[in-house]
């Protein structure tokens, strides 16, 4: 009886000490999860999720402070990827954060623009060029379609235009050949 107790106790001492030691020695720093989440997010930096940019949202998801369904530009596919990555259940896009829209770019109506630079400050990716009292223009290739420039414009000269399909962006559709029940 006593032997058993002694054996158990000594195992306990060794094990306990070892684990305590290991927990300090092998501490893991950093959080690669945030990077993985950030890679899934569309990087529009639109803030519709309620966070100031994609990375802060990724950090919030990793920390369990945000749901995975708050990113309208990422759409349903983005939510599915996040759900897969995190092993969470898929949820439809939360309506309070917006709806999925076709990819667009902002266009400045150059007749109306007064050159106030407010949109330049709002643009998260520096895709608007121009200077005070000068007409602004948007670098379409860099525009993420975040719509953040729409609200600050005092003369509402910015509009969103869906990206048109070209031969280079045209996609073959998923082949669907109807099998008729009568066939």
């Amino acid at each position: 009886m006593l032997t058993a107790l002694l054996v158990m106790a000594s195992i306990a001492v060794v094990l306990g000490a070892l684990l305590g030691f290991a927990s300090i020695k092998f501490k893991v720093e950093g959080d690669p999860l945030v990077d993985q989440i950030d890679a899934i997010l569309p990087q529009t930096q639109c803030g519709q999720c309620g966070f100031p940019g994609c990375r802060p949202y990724a950090t919030a998801i990793a920390g369990g402070e945000a749901e995975i369904n708050q990113c309208p530009p990422g759409g349903e596919e983005g939510i599915r990827k996040l759900a897969d990555l995190l092993g969470r259940e898929f949820k439809p896009l939360s309506e309070e954060h917006g709806v999925e829209k076709p990819k667009s770019v902002a266009i400045i109506d150059e007749q109306t623009c007064i050159g106030c630079t407010l949109c330049i400050q709002a643009c998260p990716v520096d895709a608007i060029v121009g200077a005070a009292k000068q007409m602004h223009t948007i670098v379409a290739a860099d525009c993420t379609g975040c719509e953040l420039c729409l609200a600050p414009c005092p003369v509402d000269c910015i509009s969103m235009q869906p990206i048109a399909e070209t031969v280079d962006t045209w996609k073959w559709r998923y082949p669907v050949i109807e099998i008729k029940a009568a066939a």
């Binding site: 306990a12 306990g16 684990l19 995190l86 969470r88």
Partner: protein, 232 residues
């Protein structure tokens, strides 16, 4: 904790996070012991007992357990409780003990016990933890019971055979008469997998239908009471 929270925990354990057919934990005893209802339910009851006690004890002691050694301590506590139950079965329900055999000690390694302790009891107060342990145990027992019933009925055409081990003098129910040839595979291990697969499919089907119906007529937006800390 209020009643609503307890109800949430219970529902979680019995249906939403059912360890048998949702988390698919503890397969070894589920598959091995569910050859008939009596064996299945007996092991289920033993597991409920262990889970309730383990959750209670660990929730009560959770503030004294350093984070670094929590797993060995949990295992130690669970092992001790299982040993107690094992010895008790051996002493007072010996015949059943012979049938359940190795599976009572194996409760120690049943992932569901450690999973609940780690995921719930270590973070919640004893009352809720006990309810969680019991609910999870009931969830497991229900799966075991249904599985046992399916396999027993299909495999040998009886129900509650071996009930006399629990209640002396009780008689099993013979469903299809003595001439029933028996679908032997149901009682053998492959049958356990097939039956469990059917159960999982059945639950998924119910859930899918529920979701489809919810999508068809969305409920008025109301903030549902958040379940207590539930790991993903």
């Amino acid at each position: 904790m209020d009643t609503q929270a307890y109800r949430e925990i219970a529902w979680n354990g019995i249906w939403k996070q059912n360890c048998g057919i949702v988390q698919i934990l503890g397969l070894c005893p589920i598959l091995a012991i569910s050859t008939n209802i009596v064996n299945a339910v007996s092991l289920g009851l033993a597991t409920i007992l262990v889970m309730a006690m383990a959750n209670l004890v660990i929730a009560a002691l959770r503030n004294f357990i350093p984070y670094e050694i929590r797993i060995p301590v949990f295992i130690l506590i669970i092992a001790a409780l299982v040993t107690v139950v094992d010895l008790a079965f051996n002493a007072y329900l010996h015949e059943l003990y012979l049938v359940l055999g190795i599976f009572i000690p194996l409760i120690v390694t049943n992932c569901i016990v450690l999973a609940r302790v780690e995921a719930f009891a270590a973070k919640n107060e004893p009352g809720g933890s006990t309810v969680d342990g019991i609910a999870m145990g009931i969830g497991l027992t229900l799966v075991l019971a249904v599985l046992g019933a399916m396999r027993e009925v299909v495999g040998s055409g009886t129900l509650l055979s071996g009930i006399d081990m629990l209640i002396p003098g009780a008689q099993p129910i013979v469903l299809f008469g003595a001439d029933y040839p028996g679908f032997l595979i149901a009682i053998l291990p492959p049958g356990a997998f097939i039956a469990l697969g059917c159960l999982i499919a059945g639950r998924n089907w119910i859930e899918a239908r529920k979701q489809a119906r919810a999508r068809a007529n969305p409920p008025a937006p109301s903030a549902p009471a958040d379940a207590p800390a539930e790991p993903a």
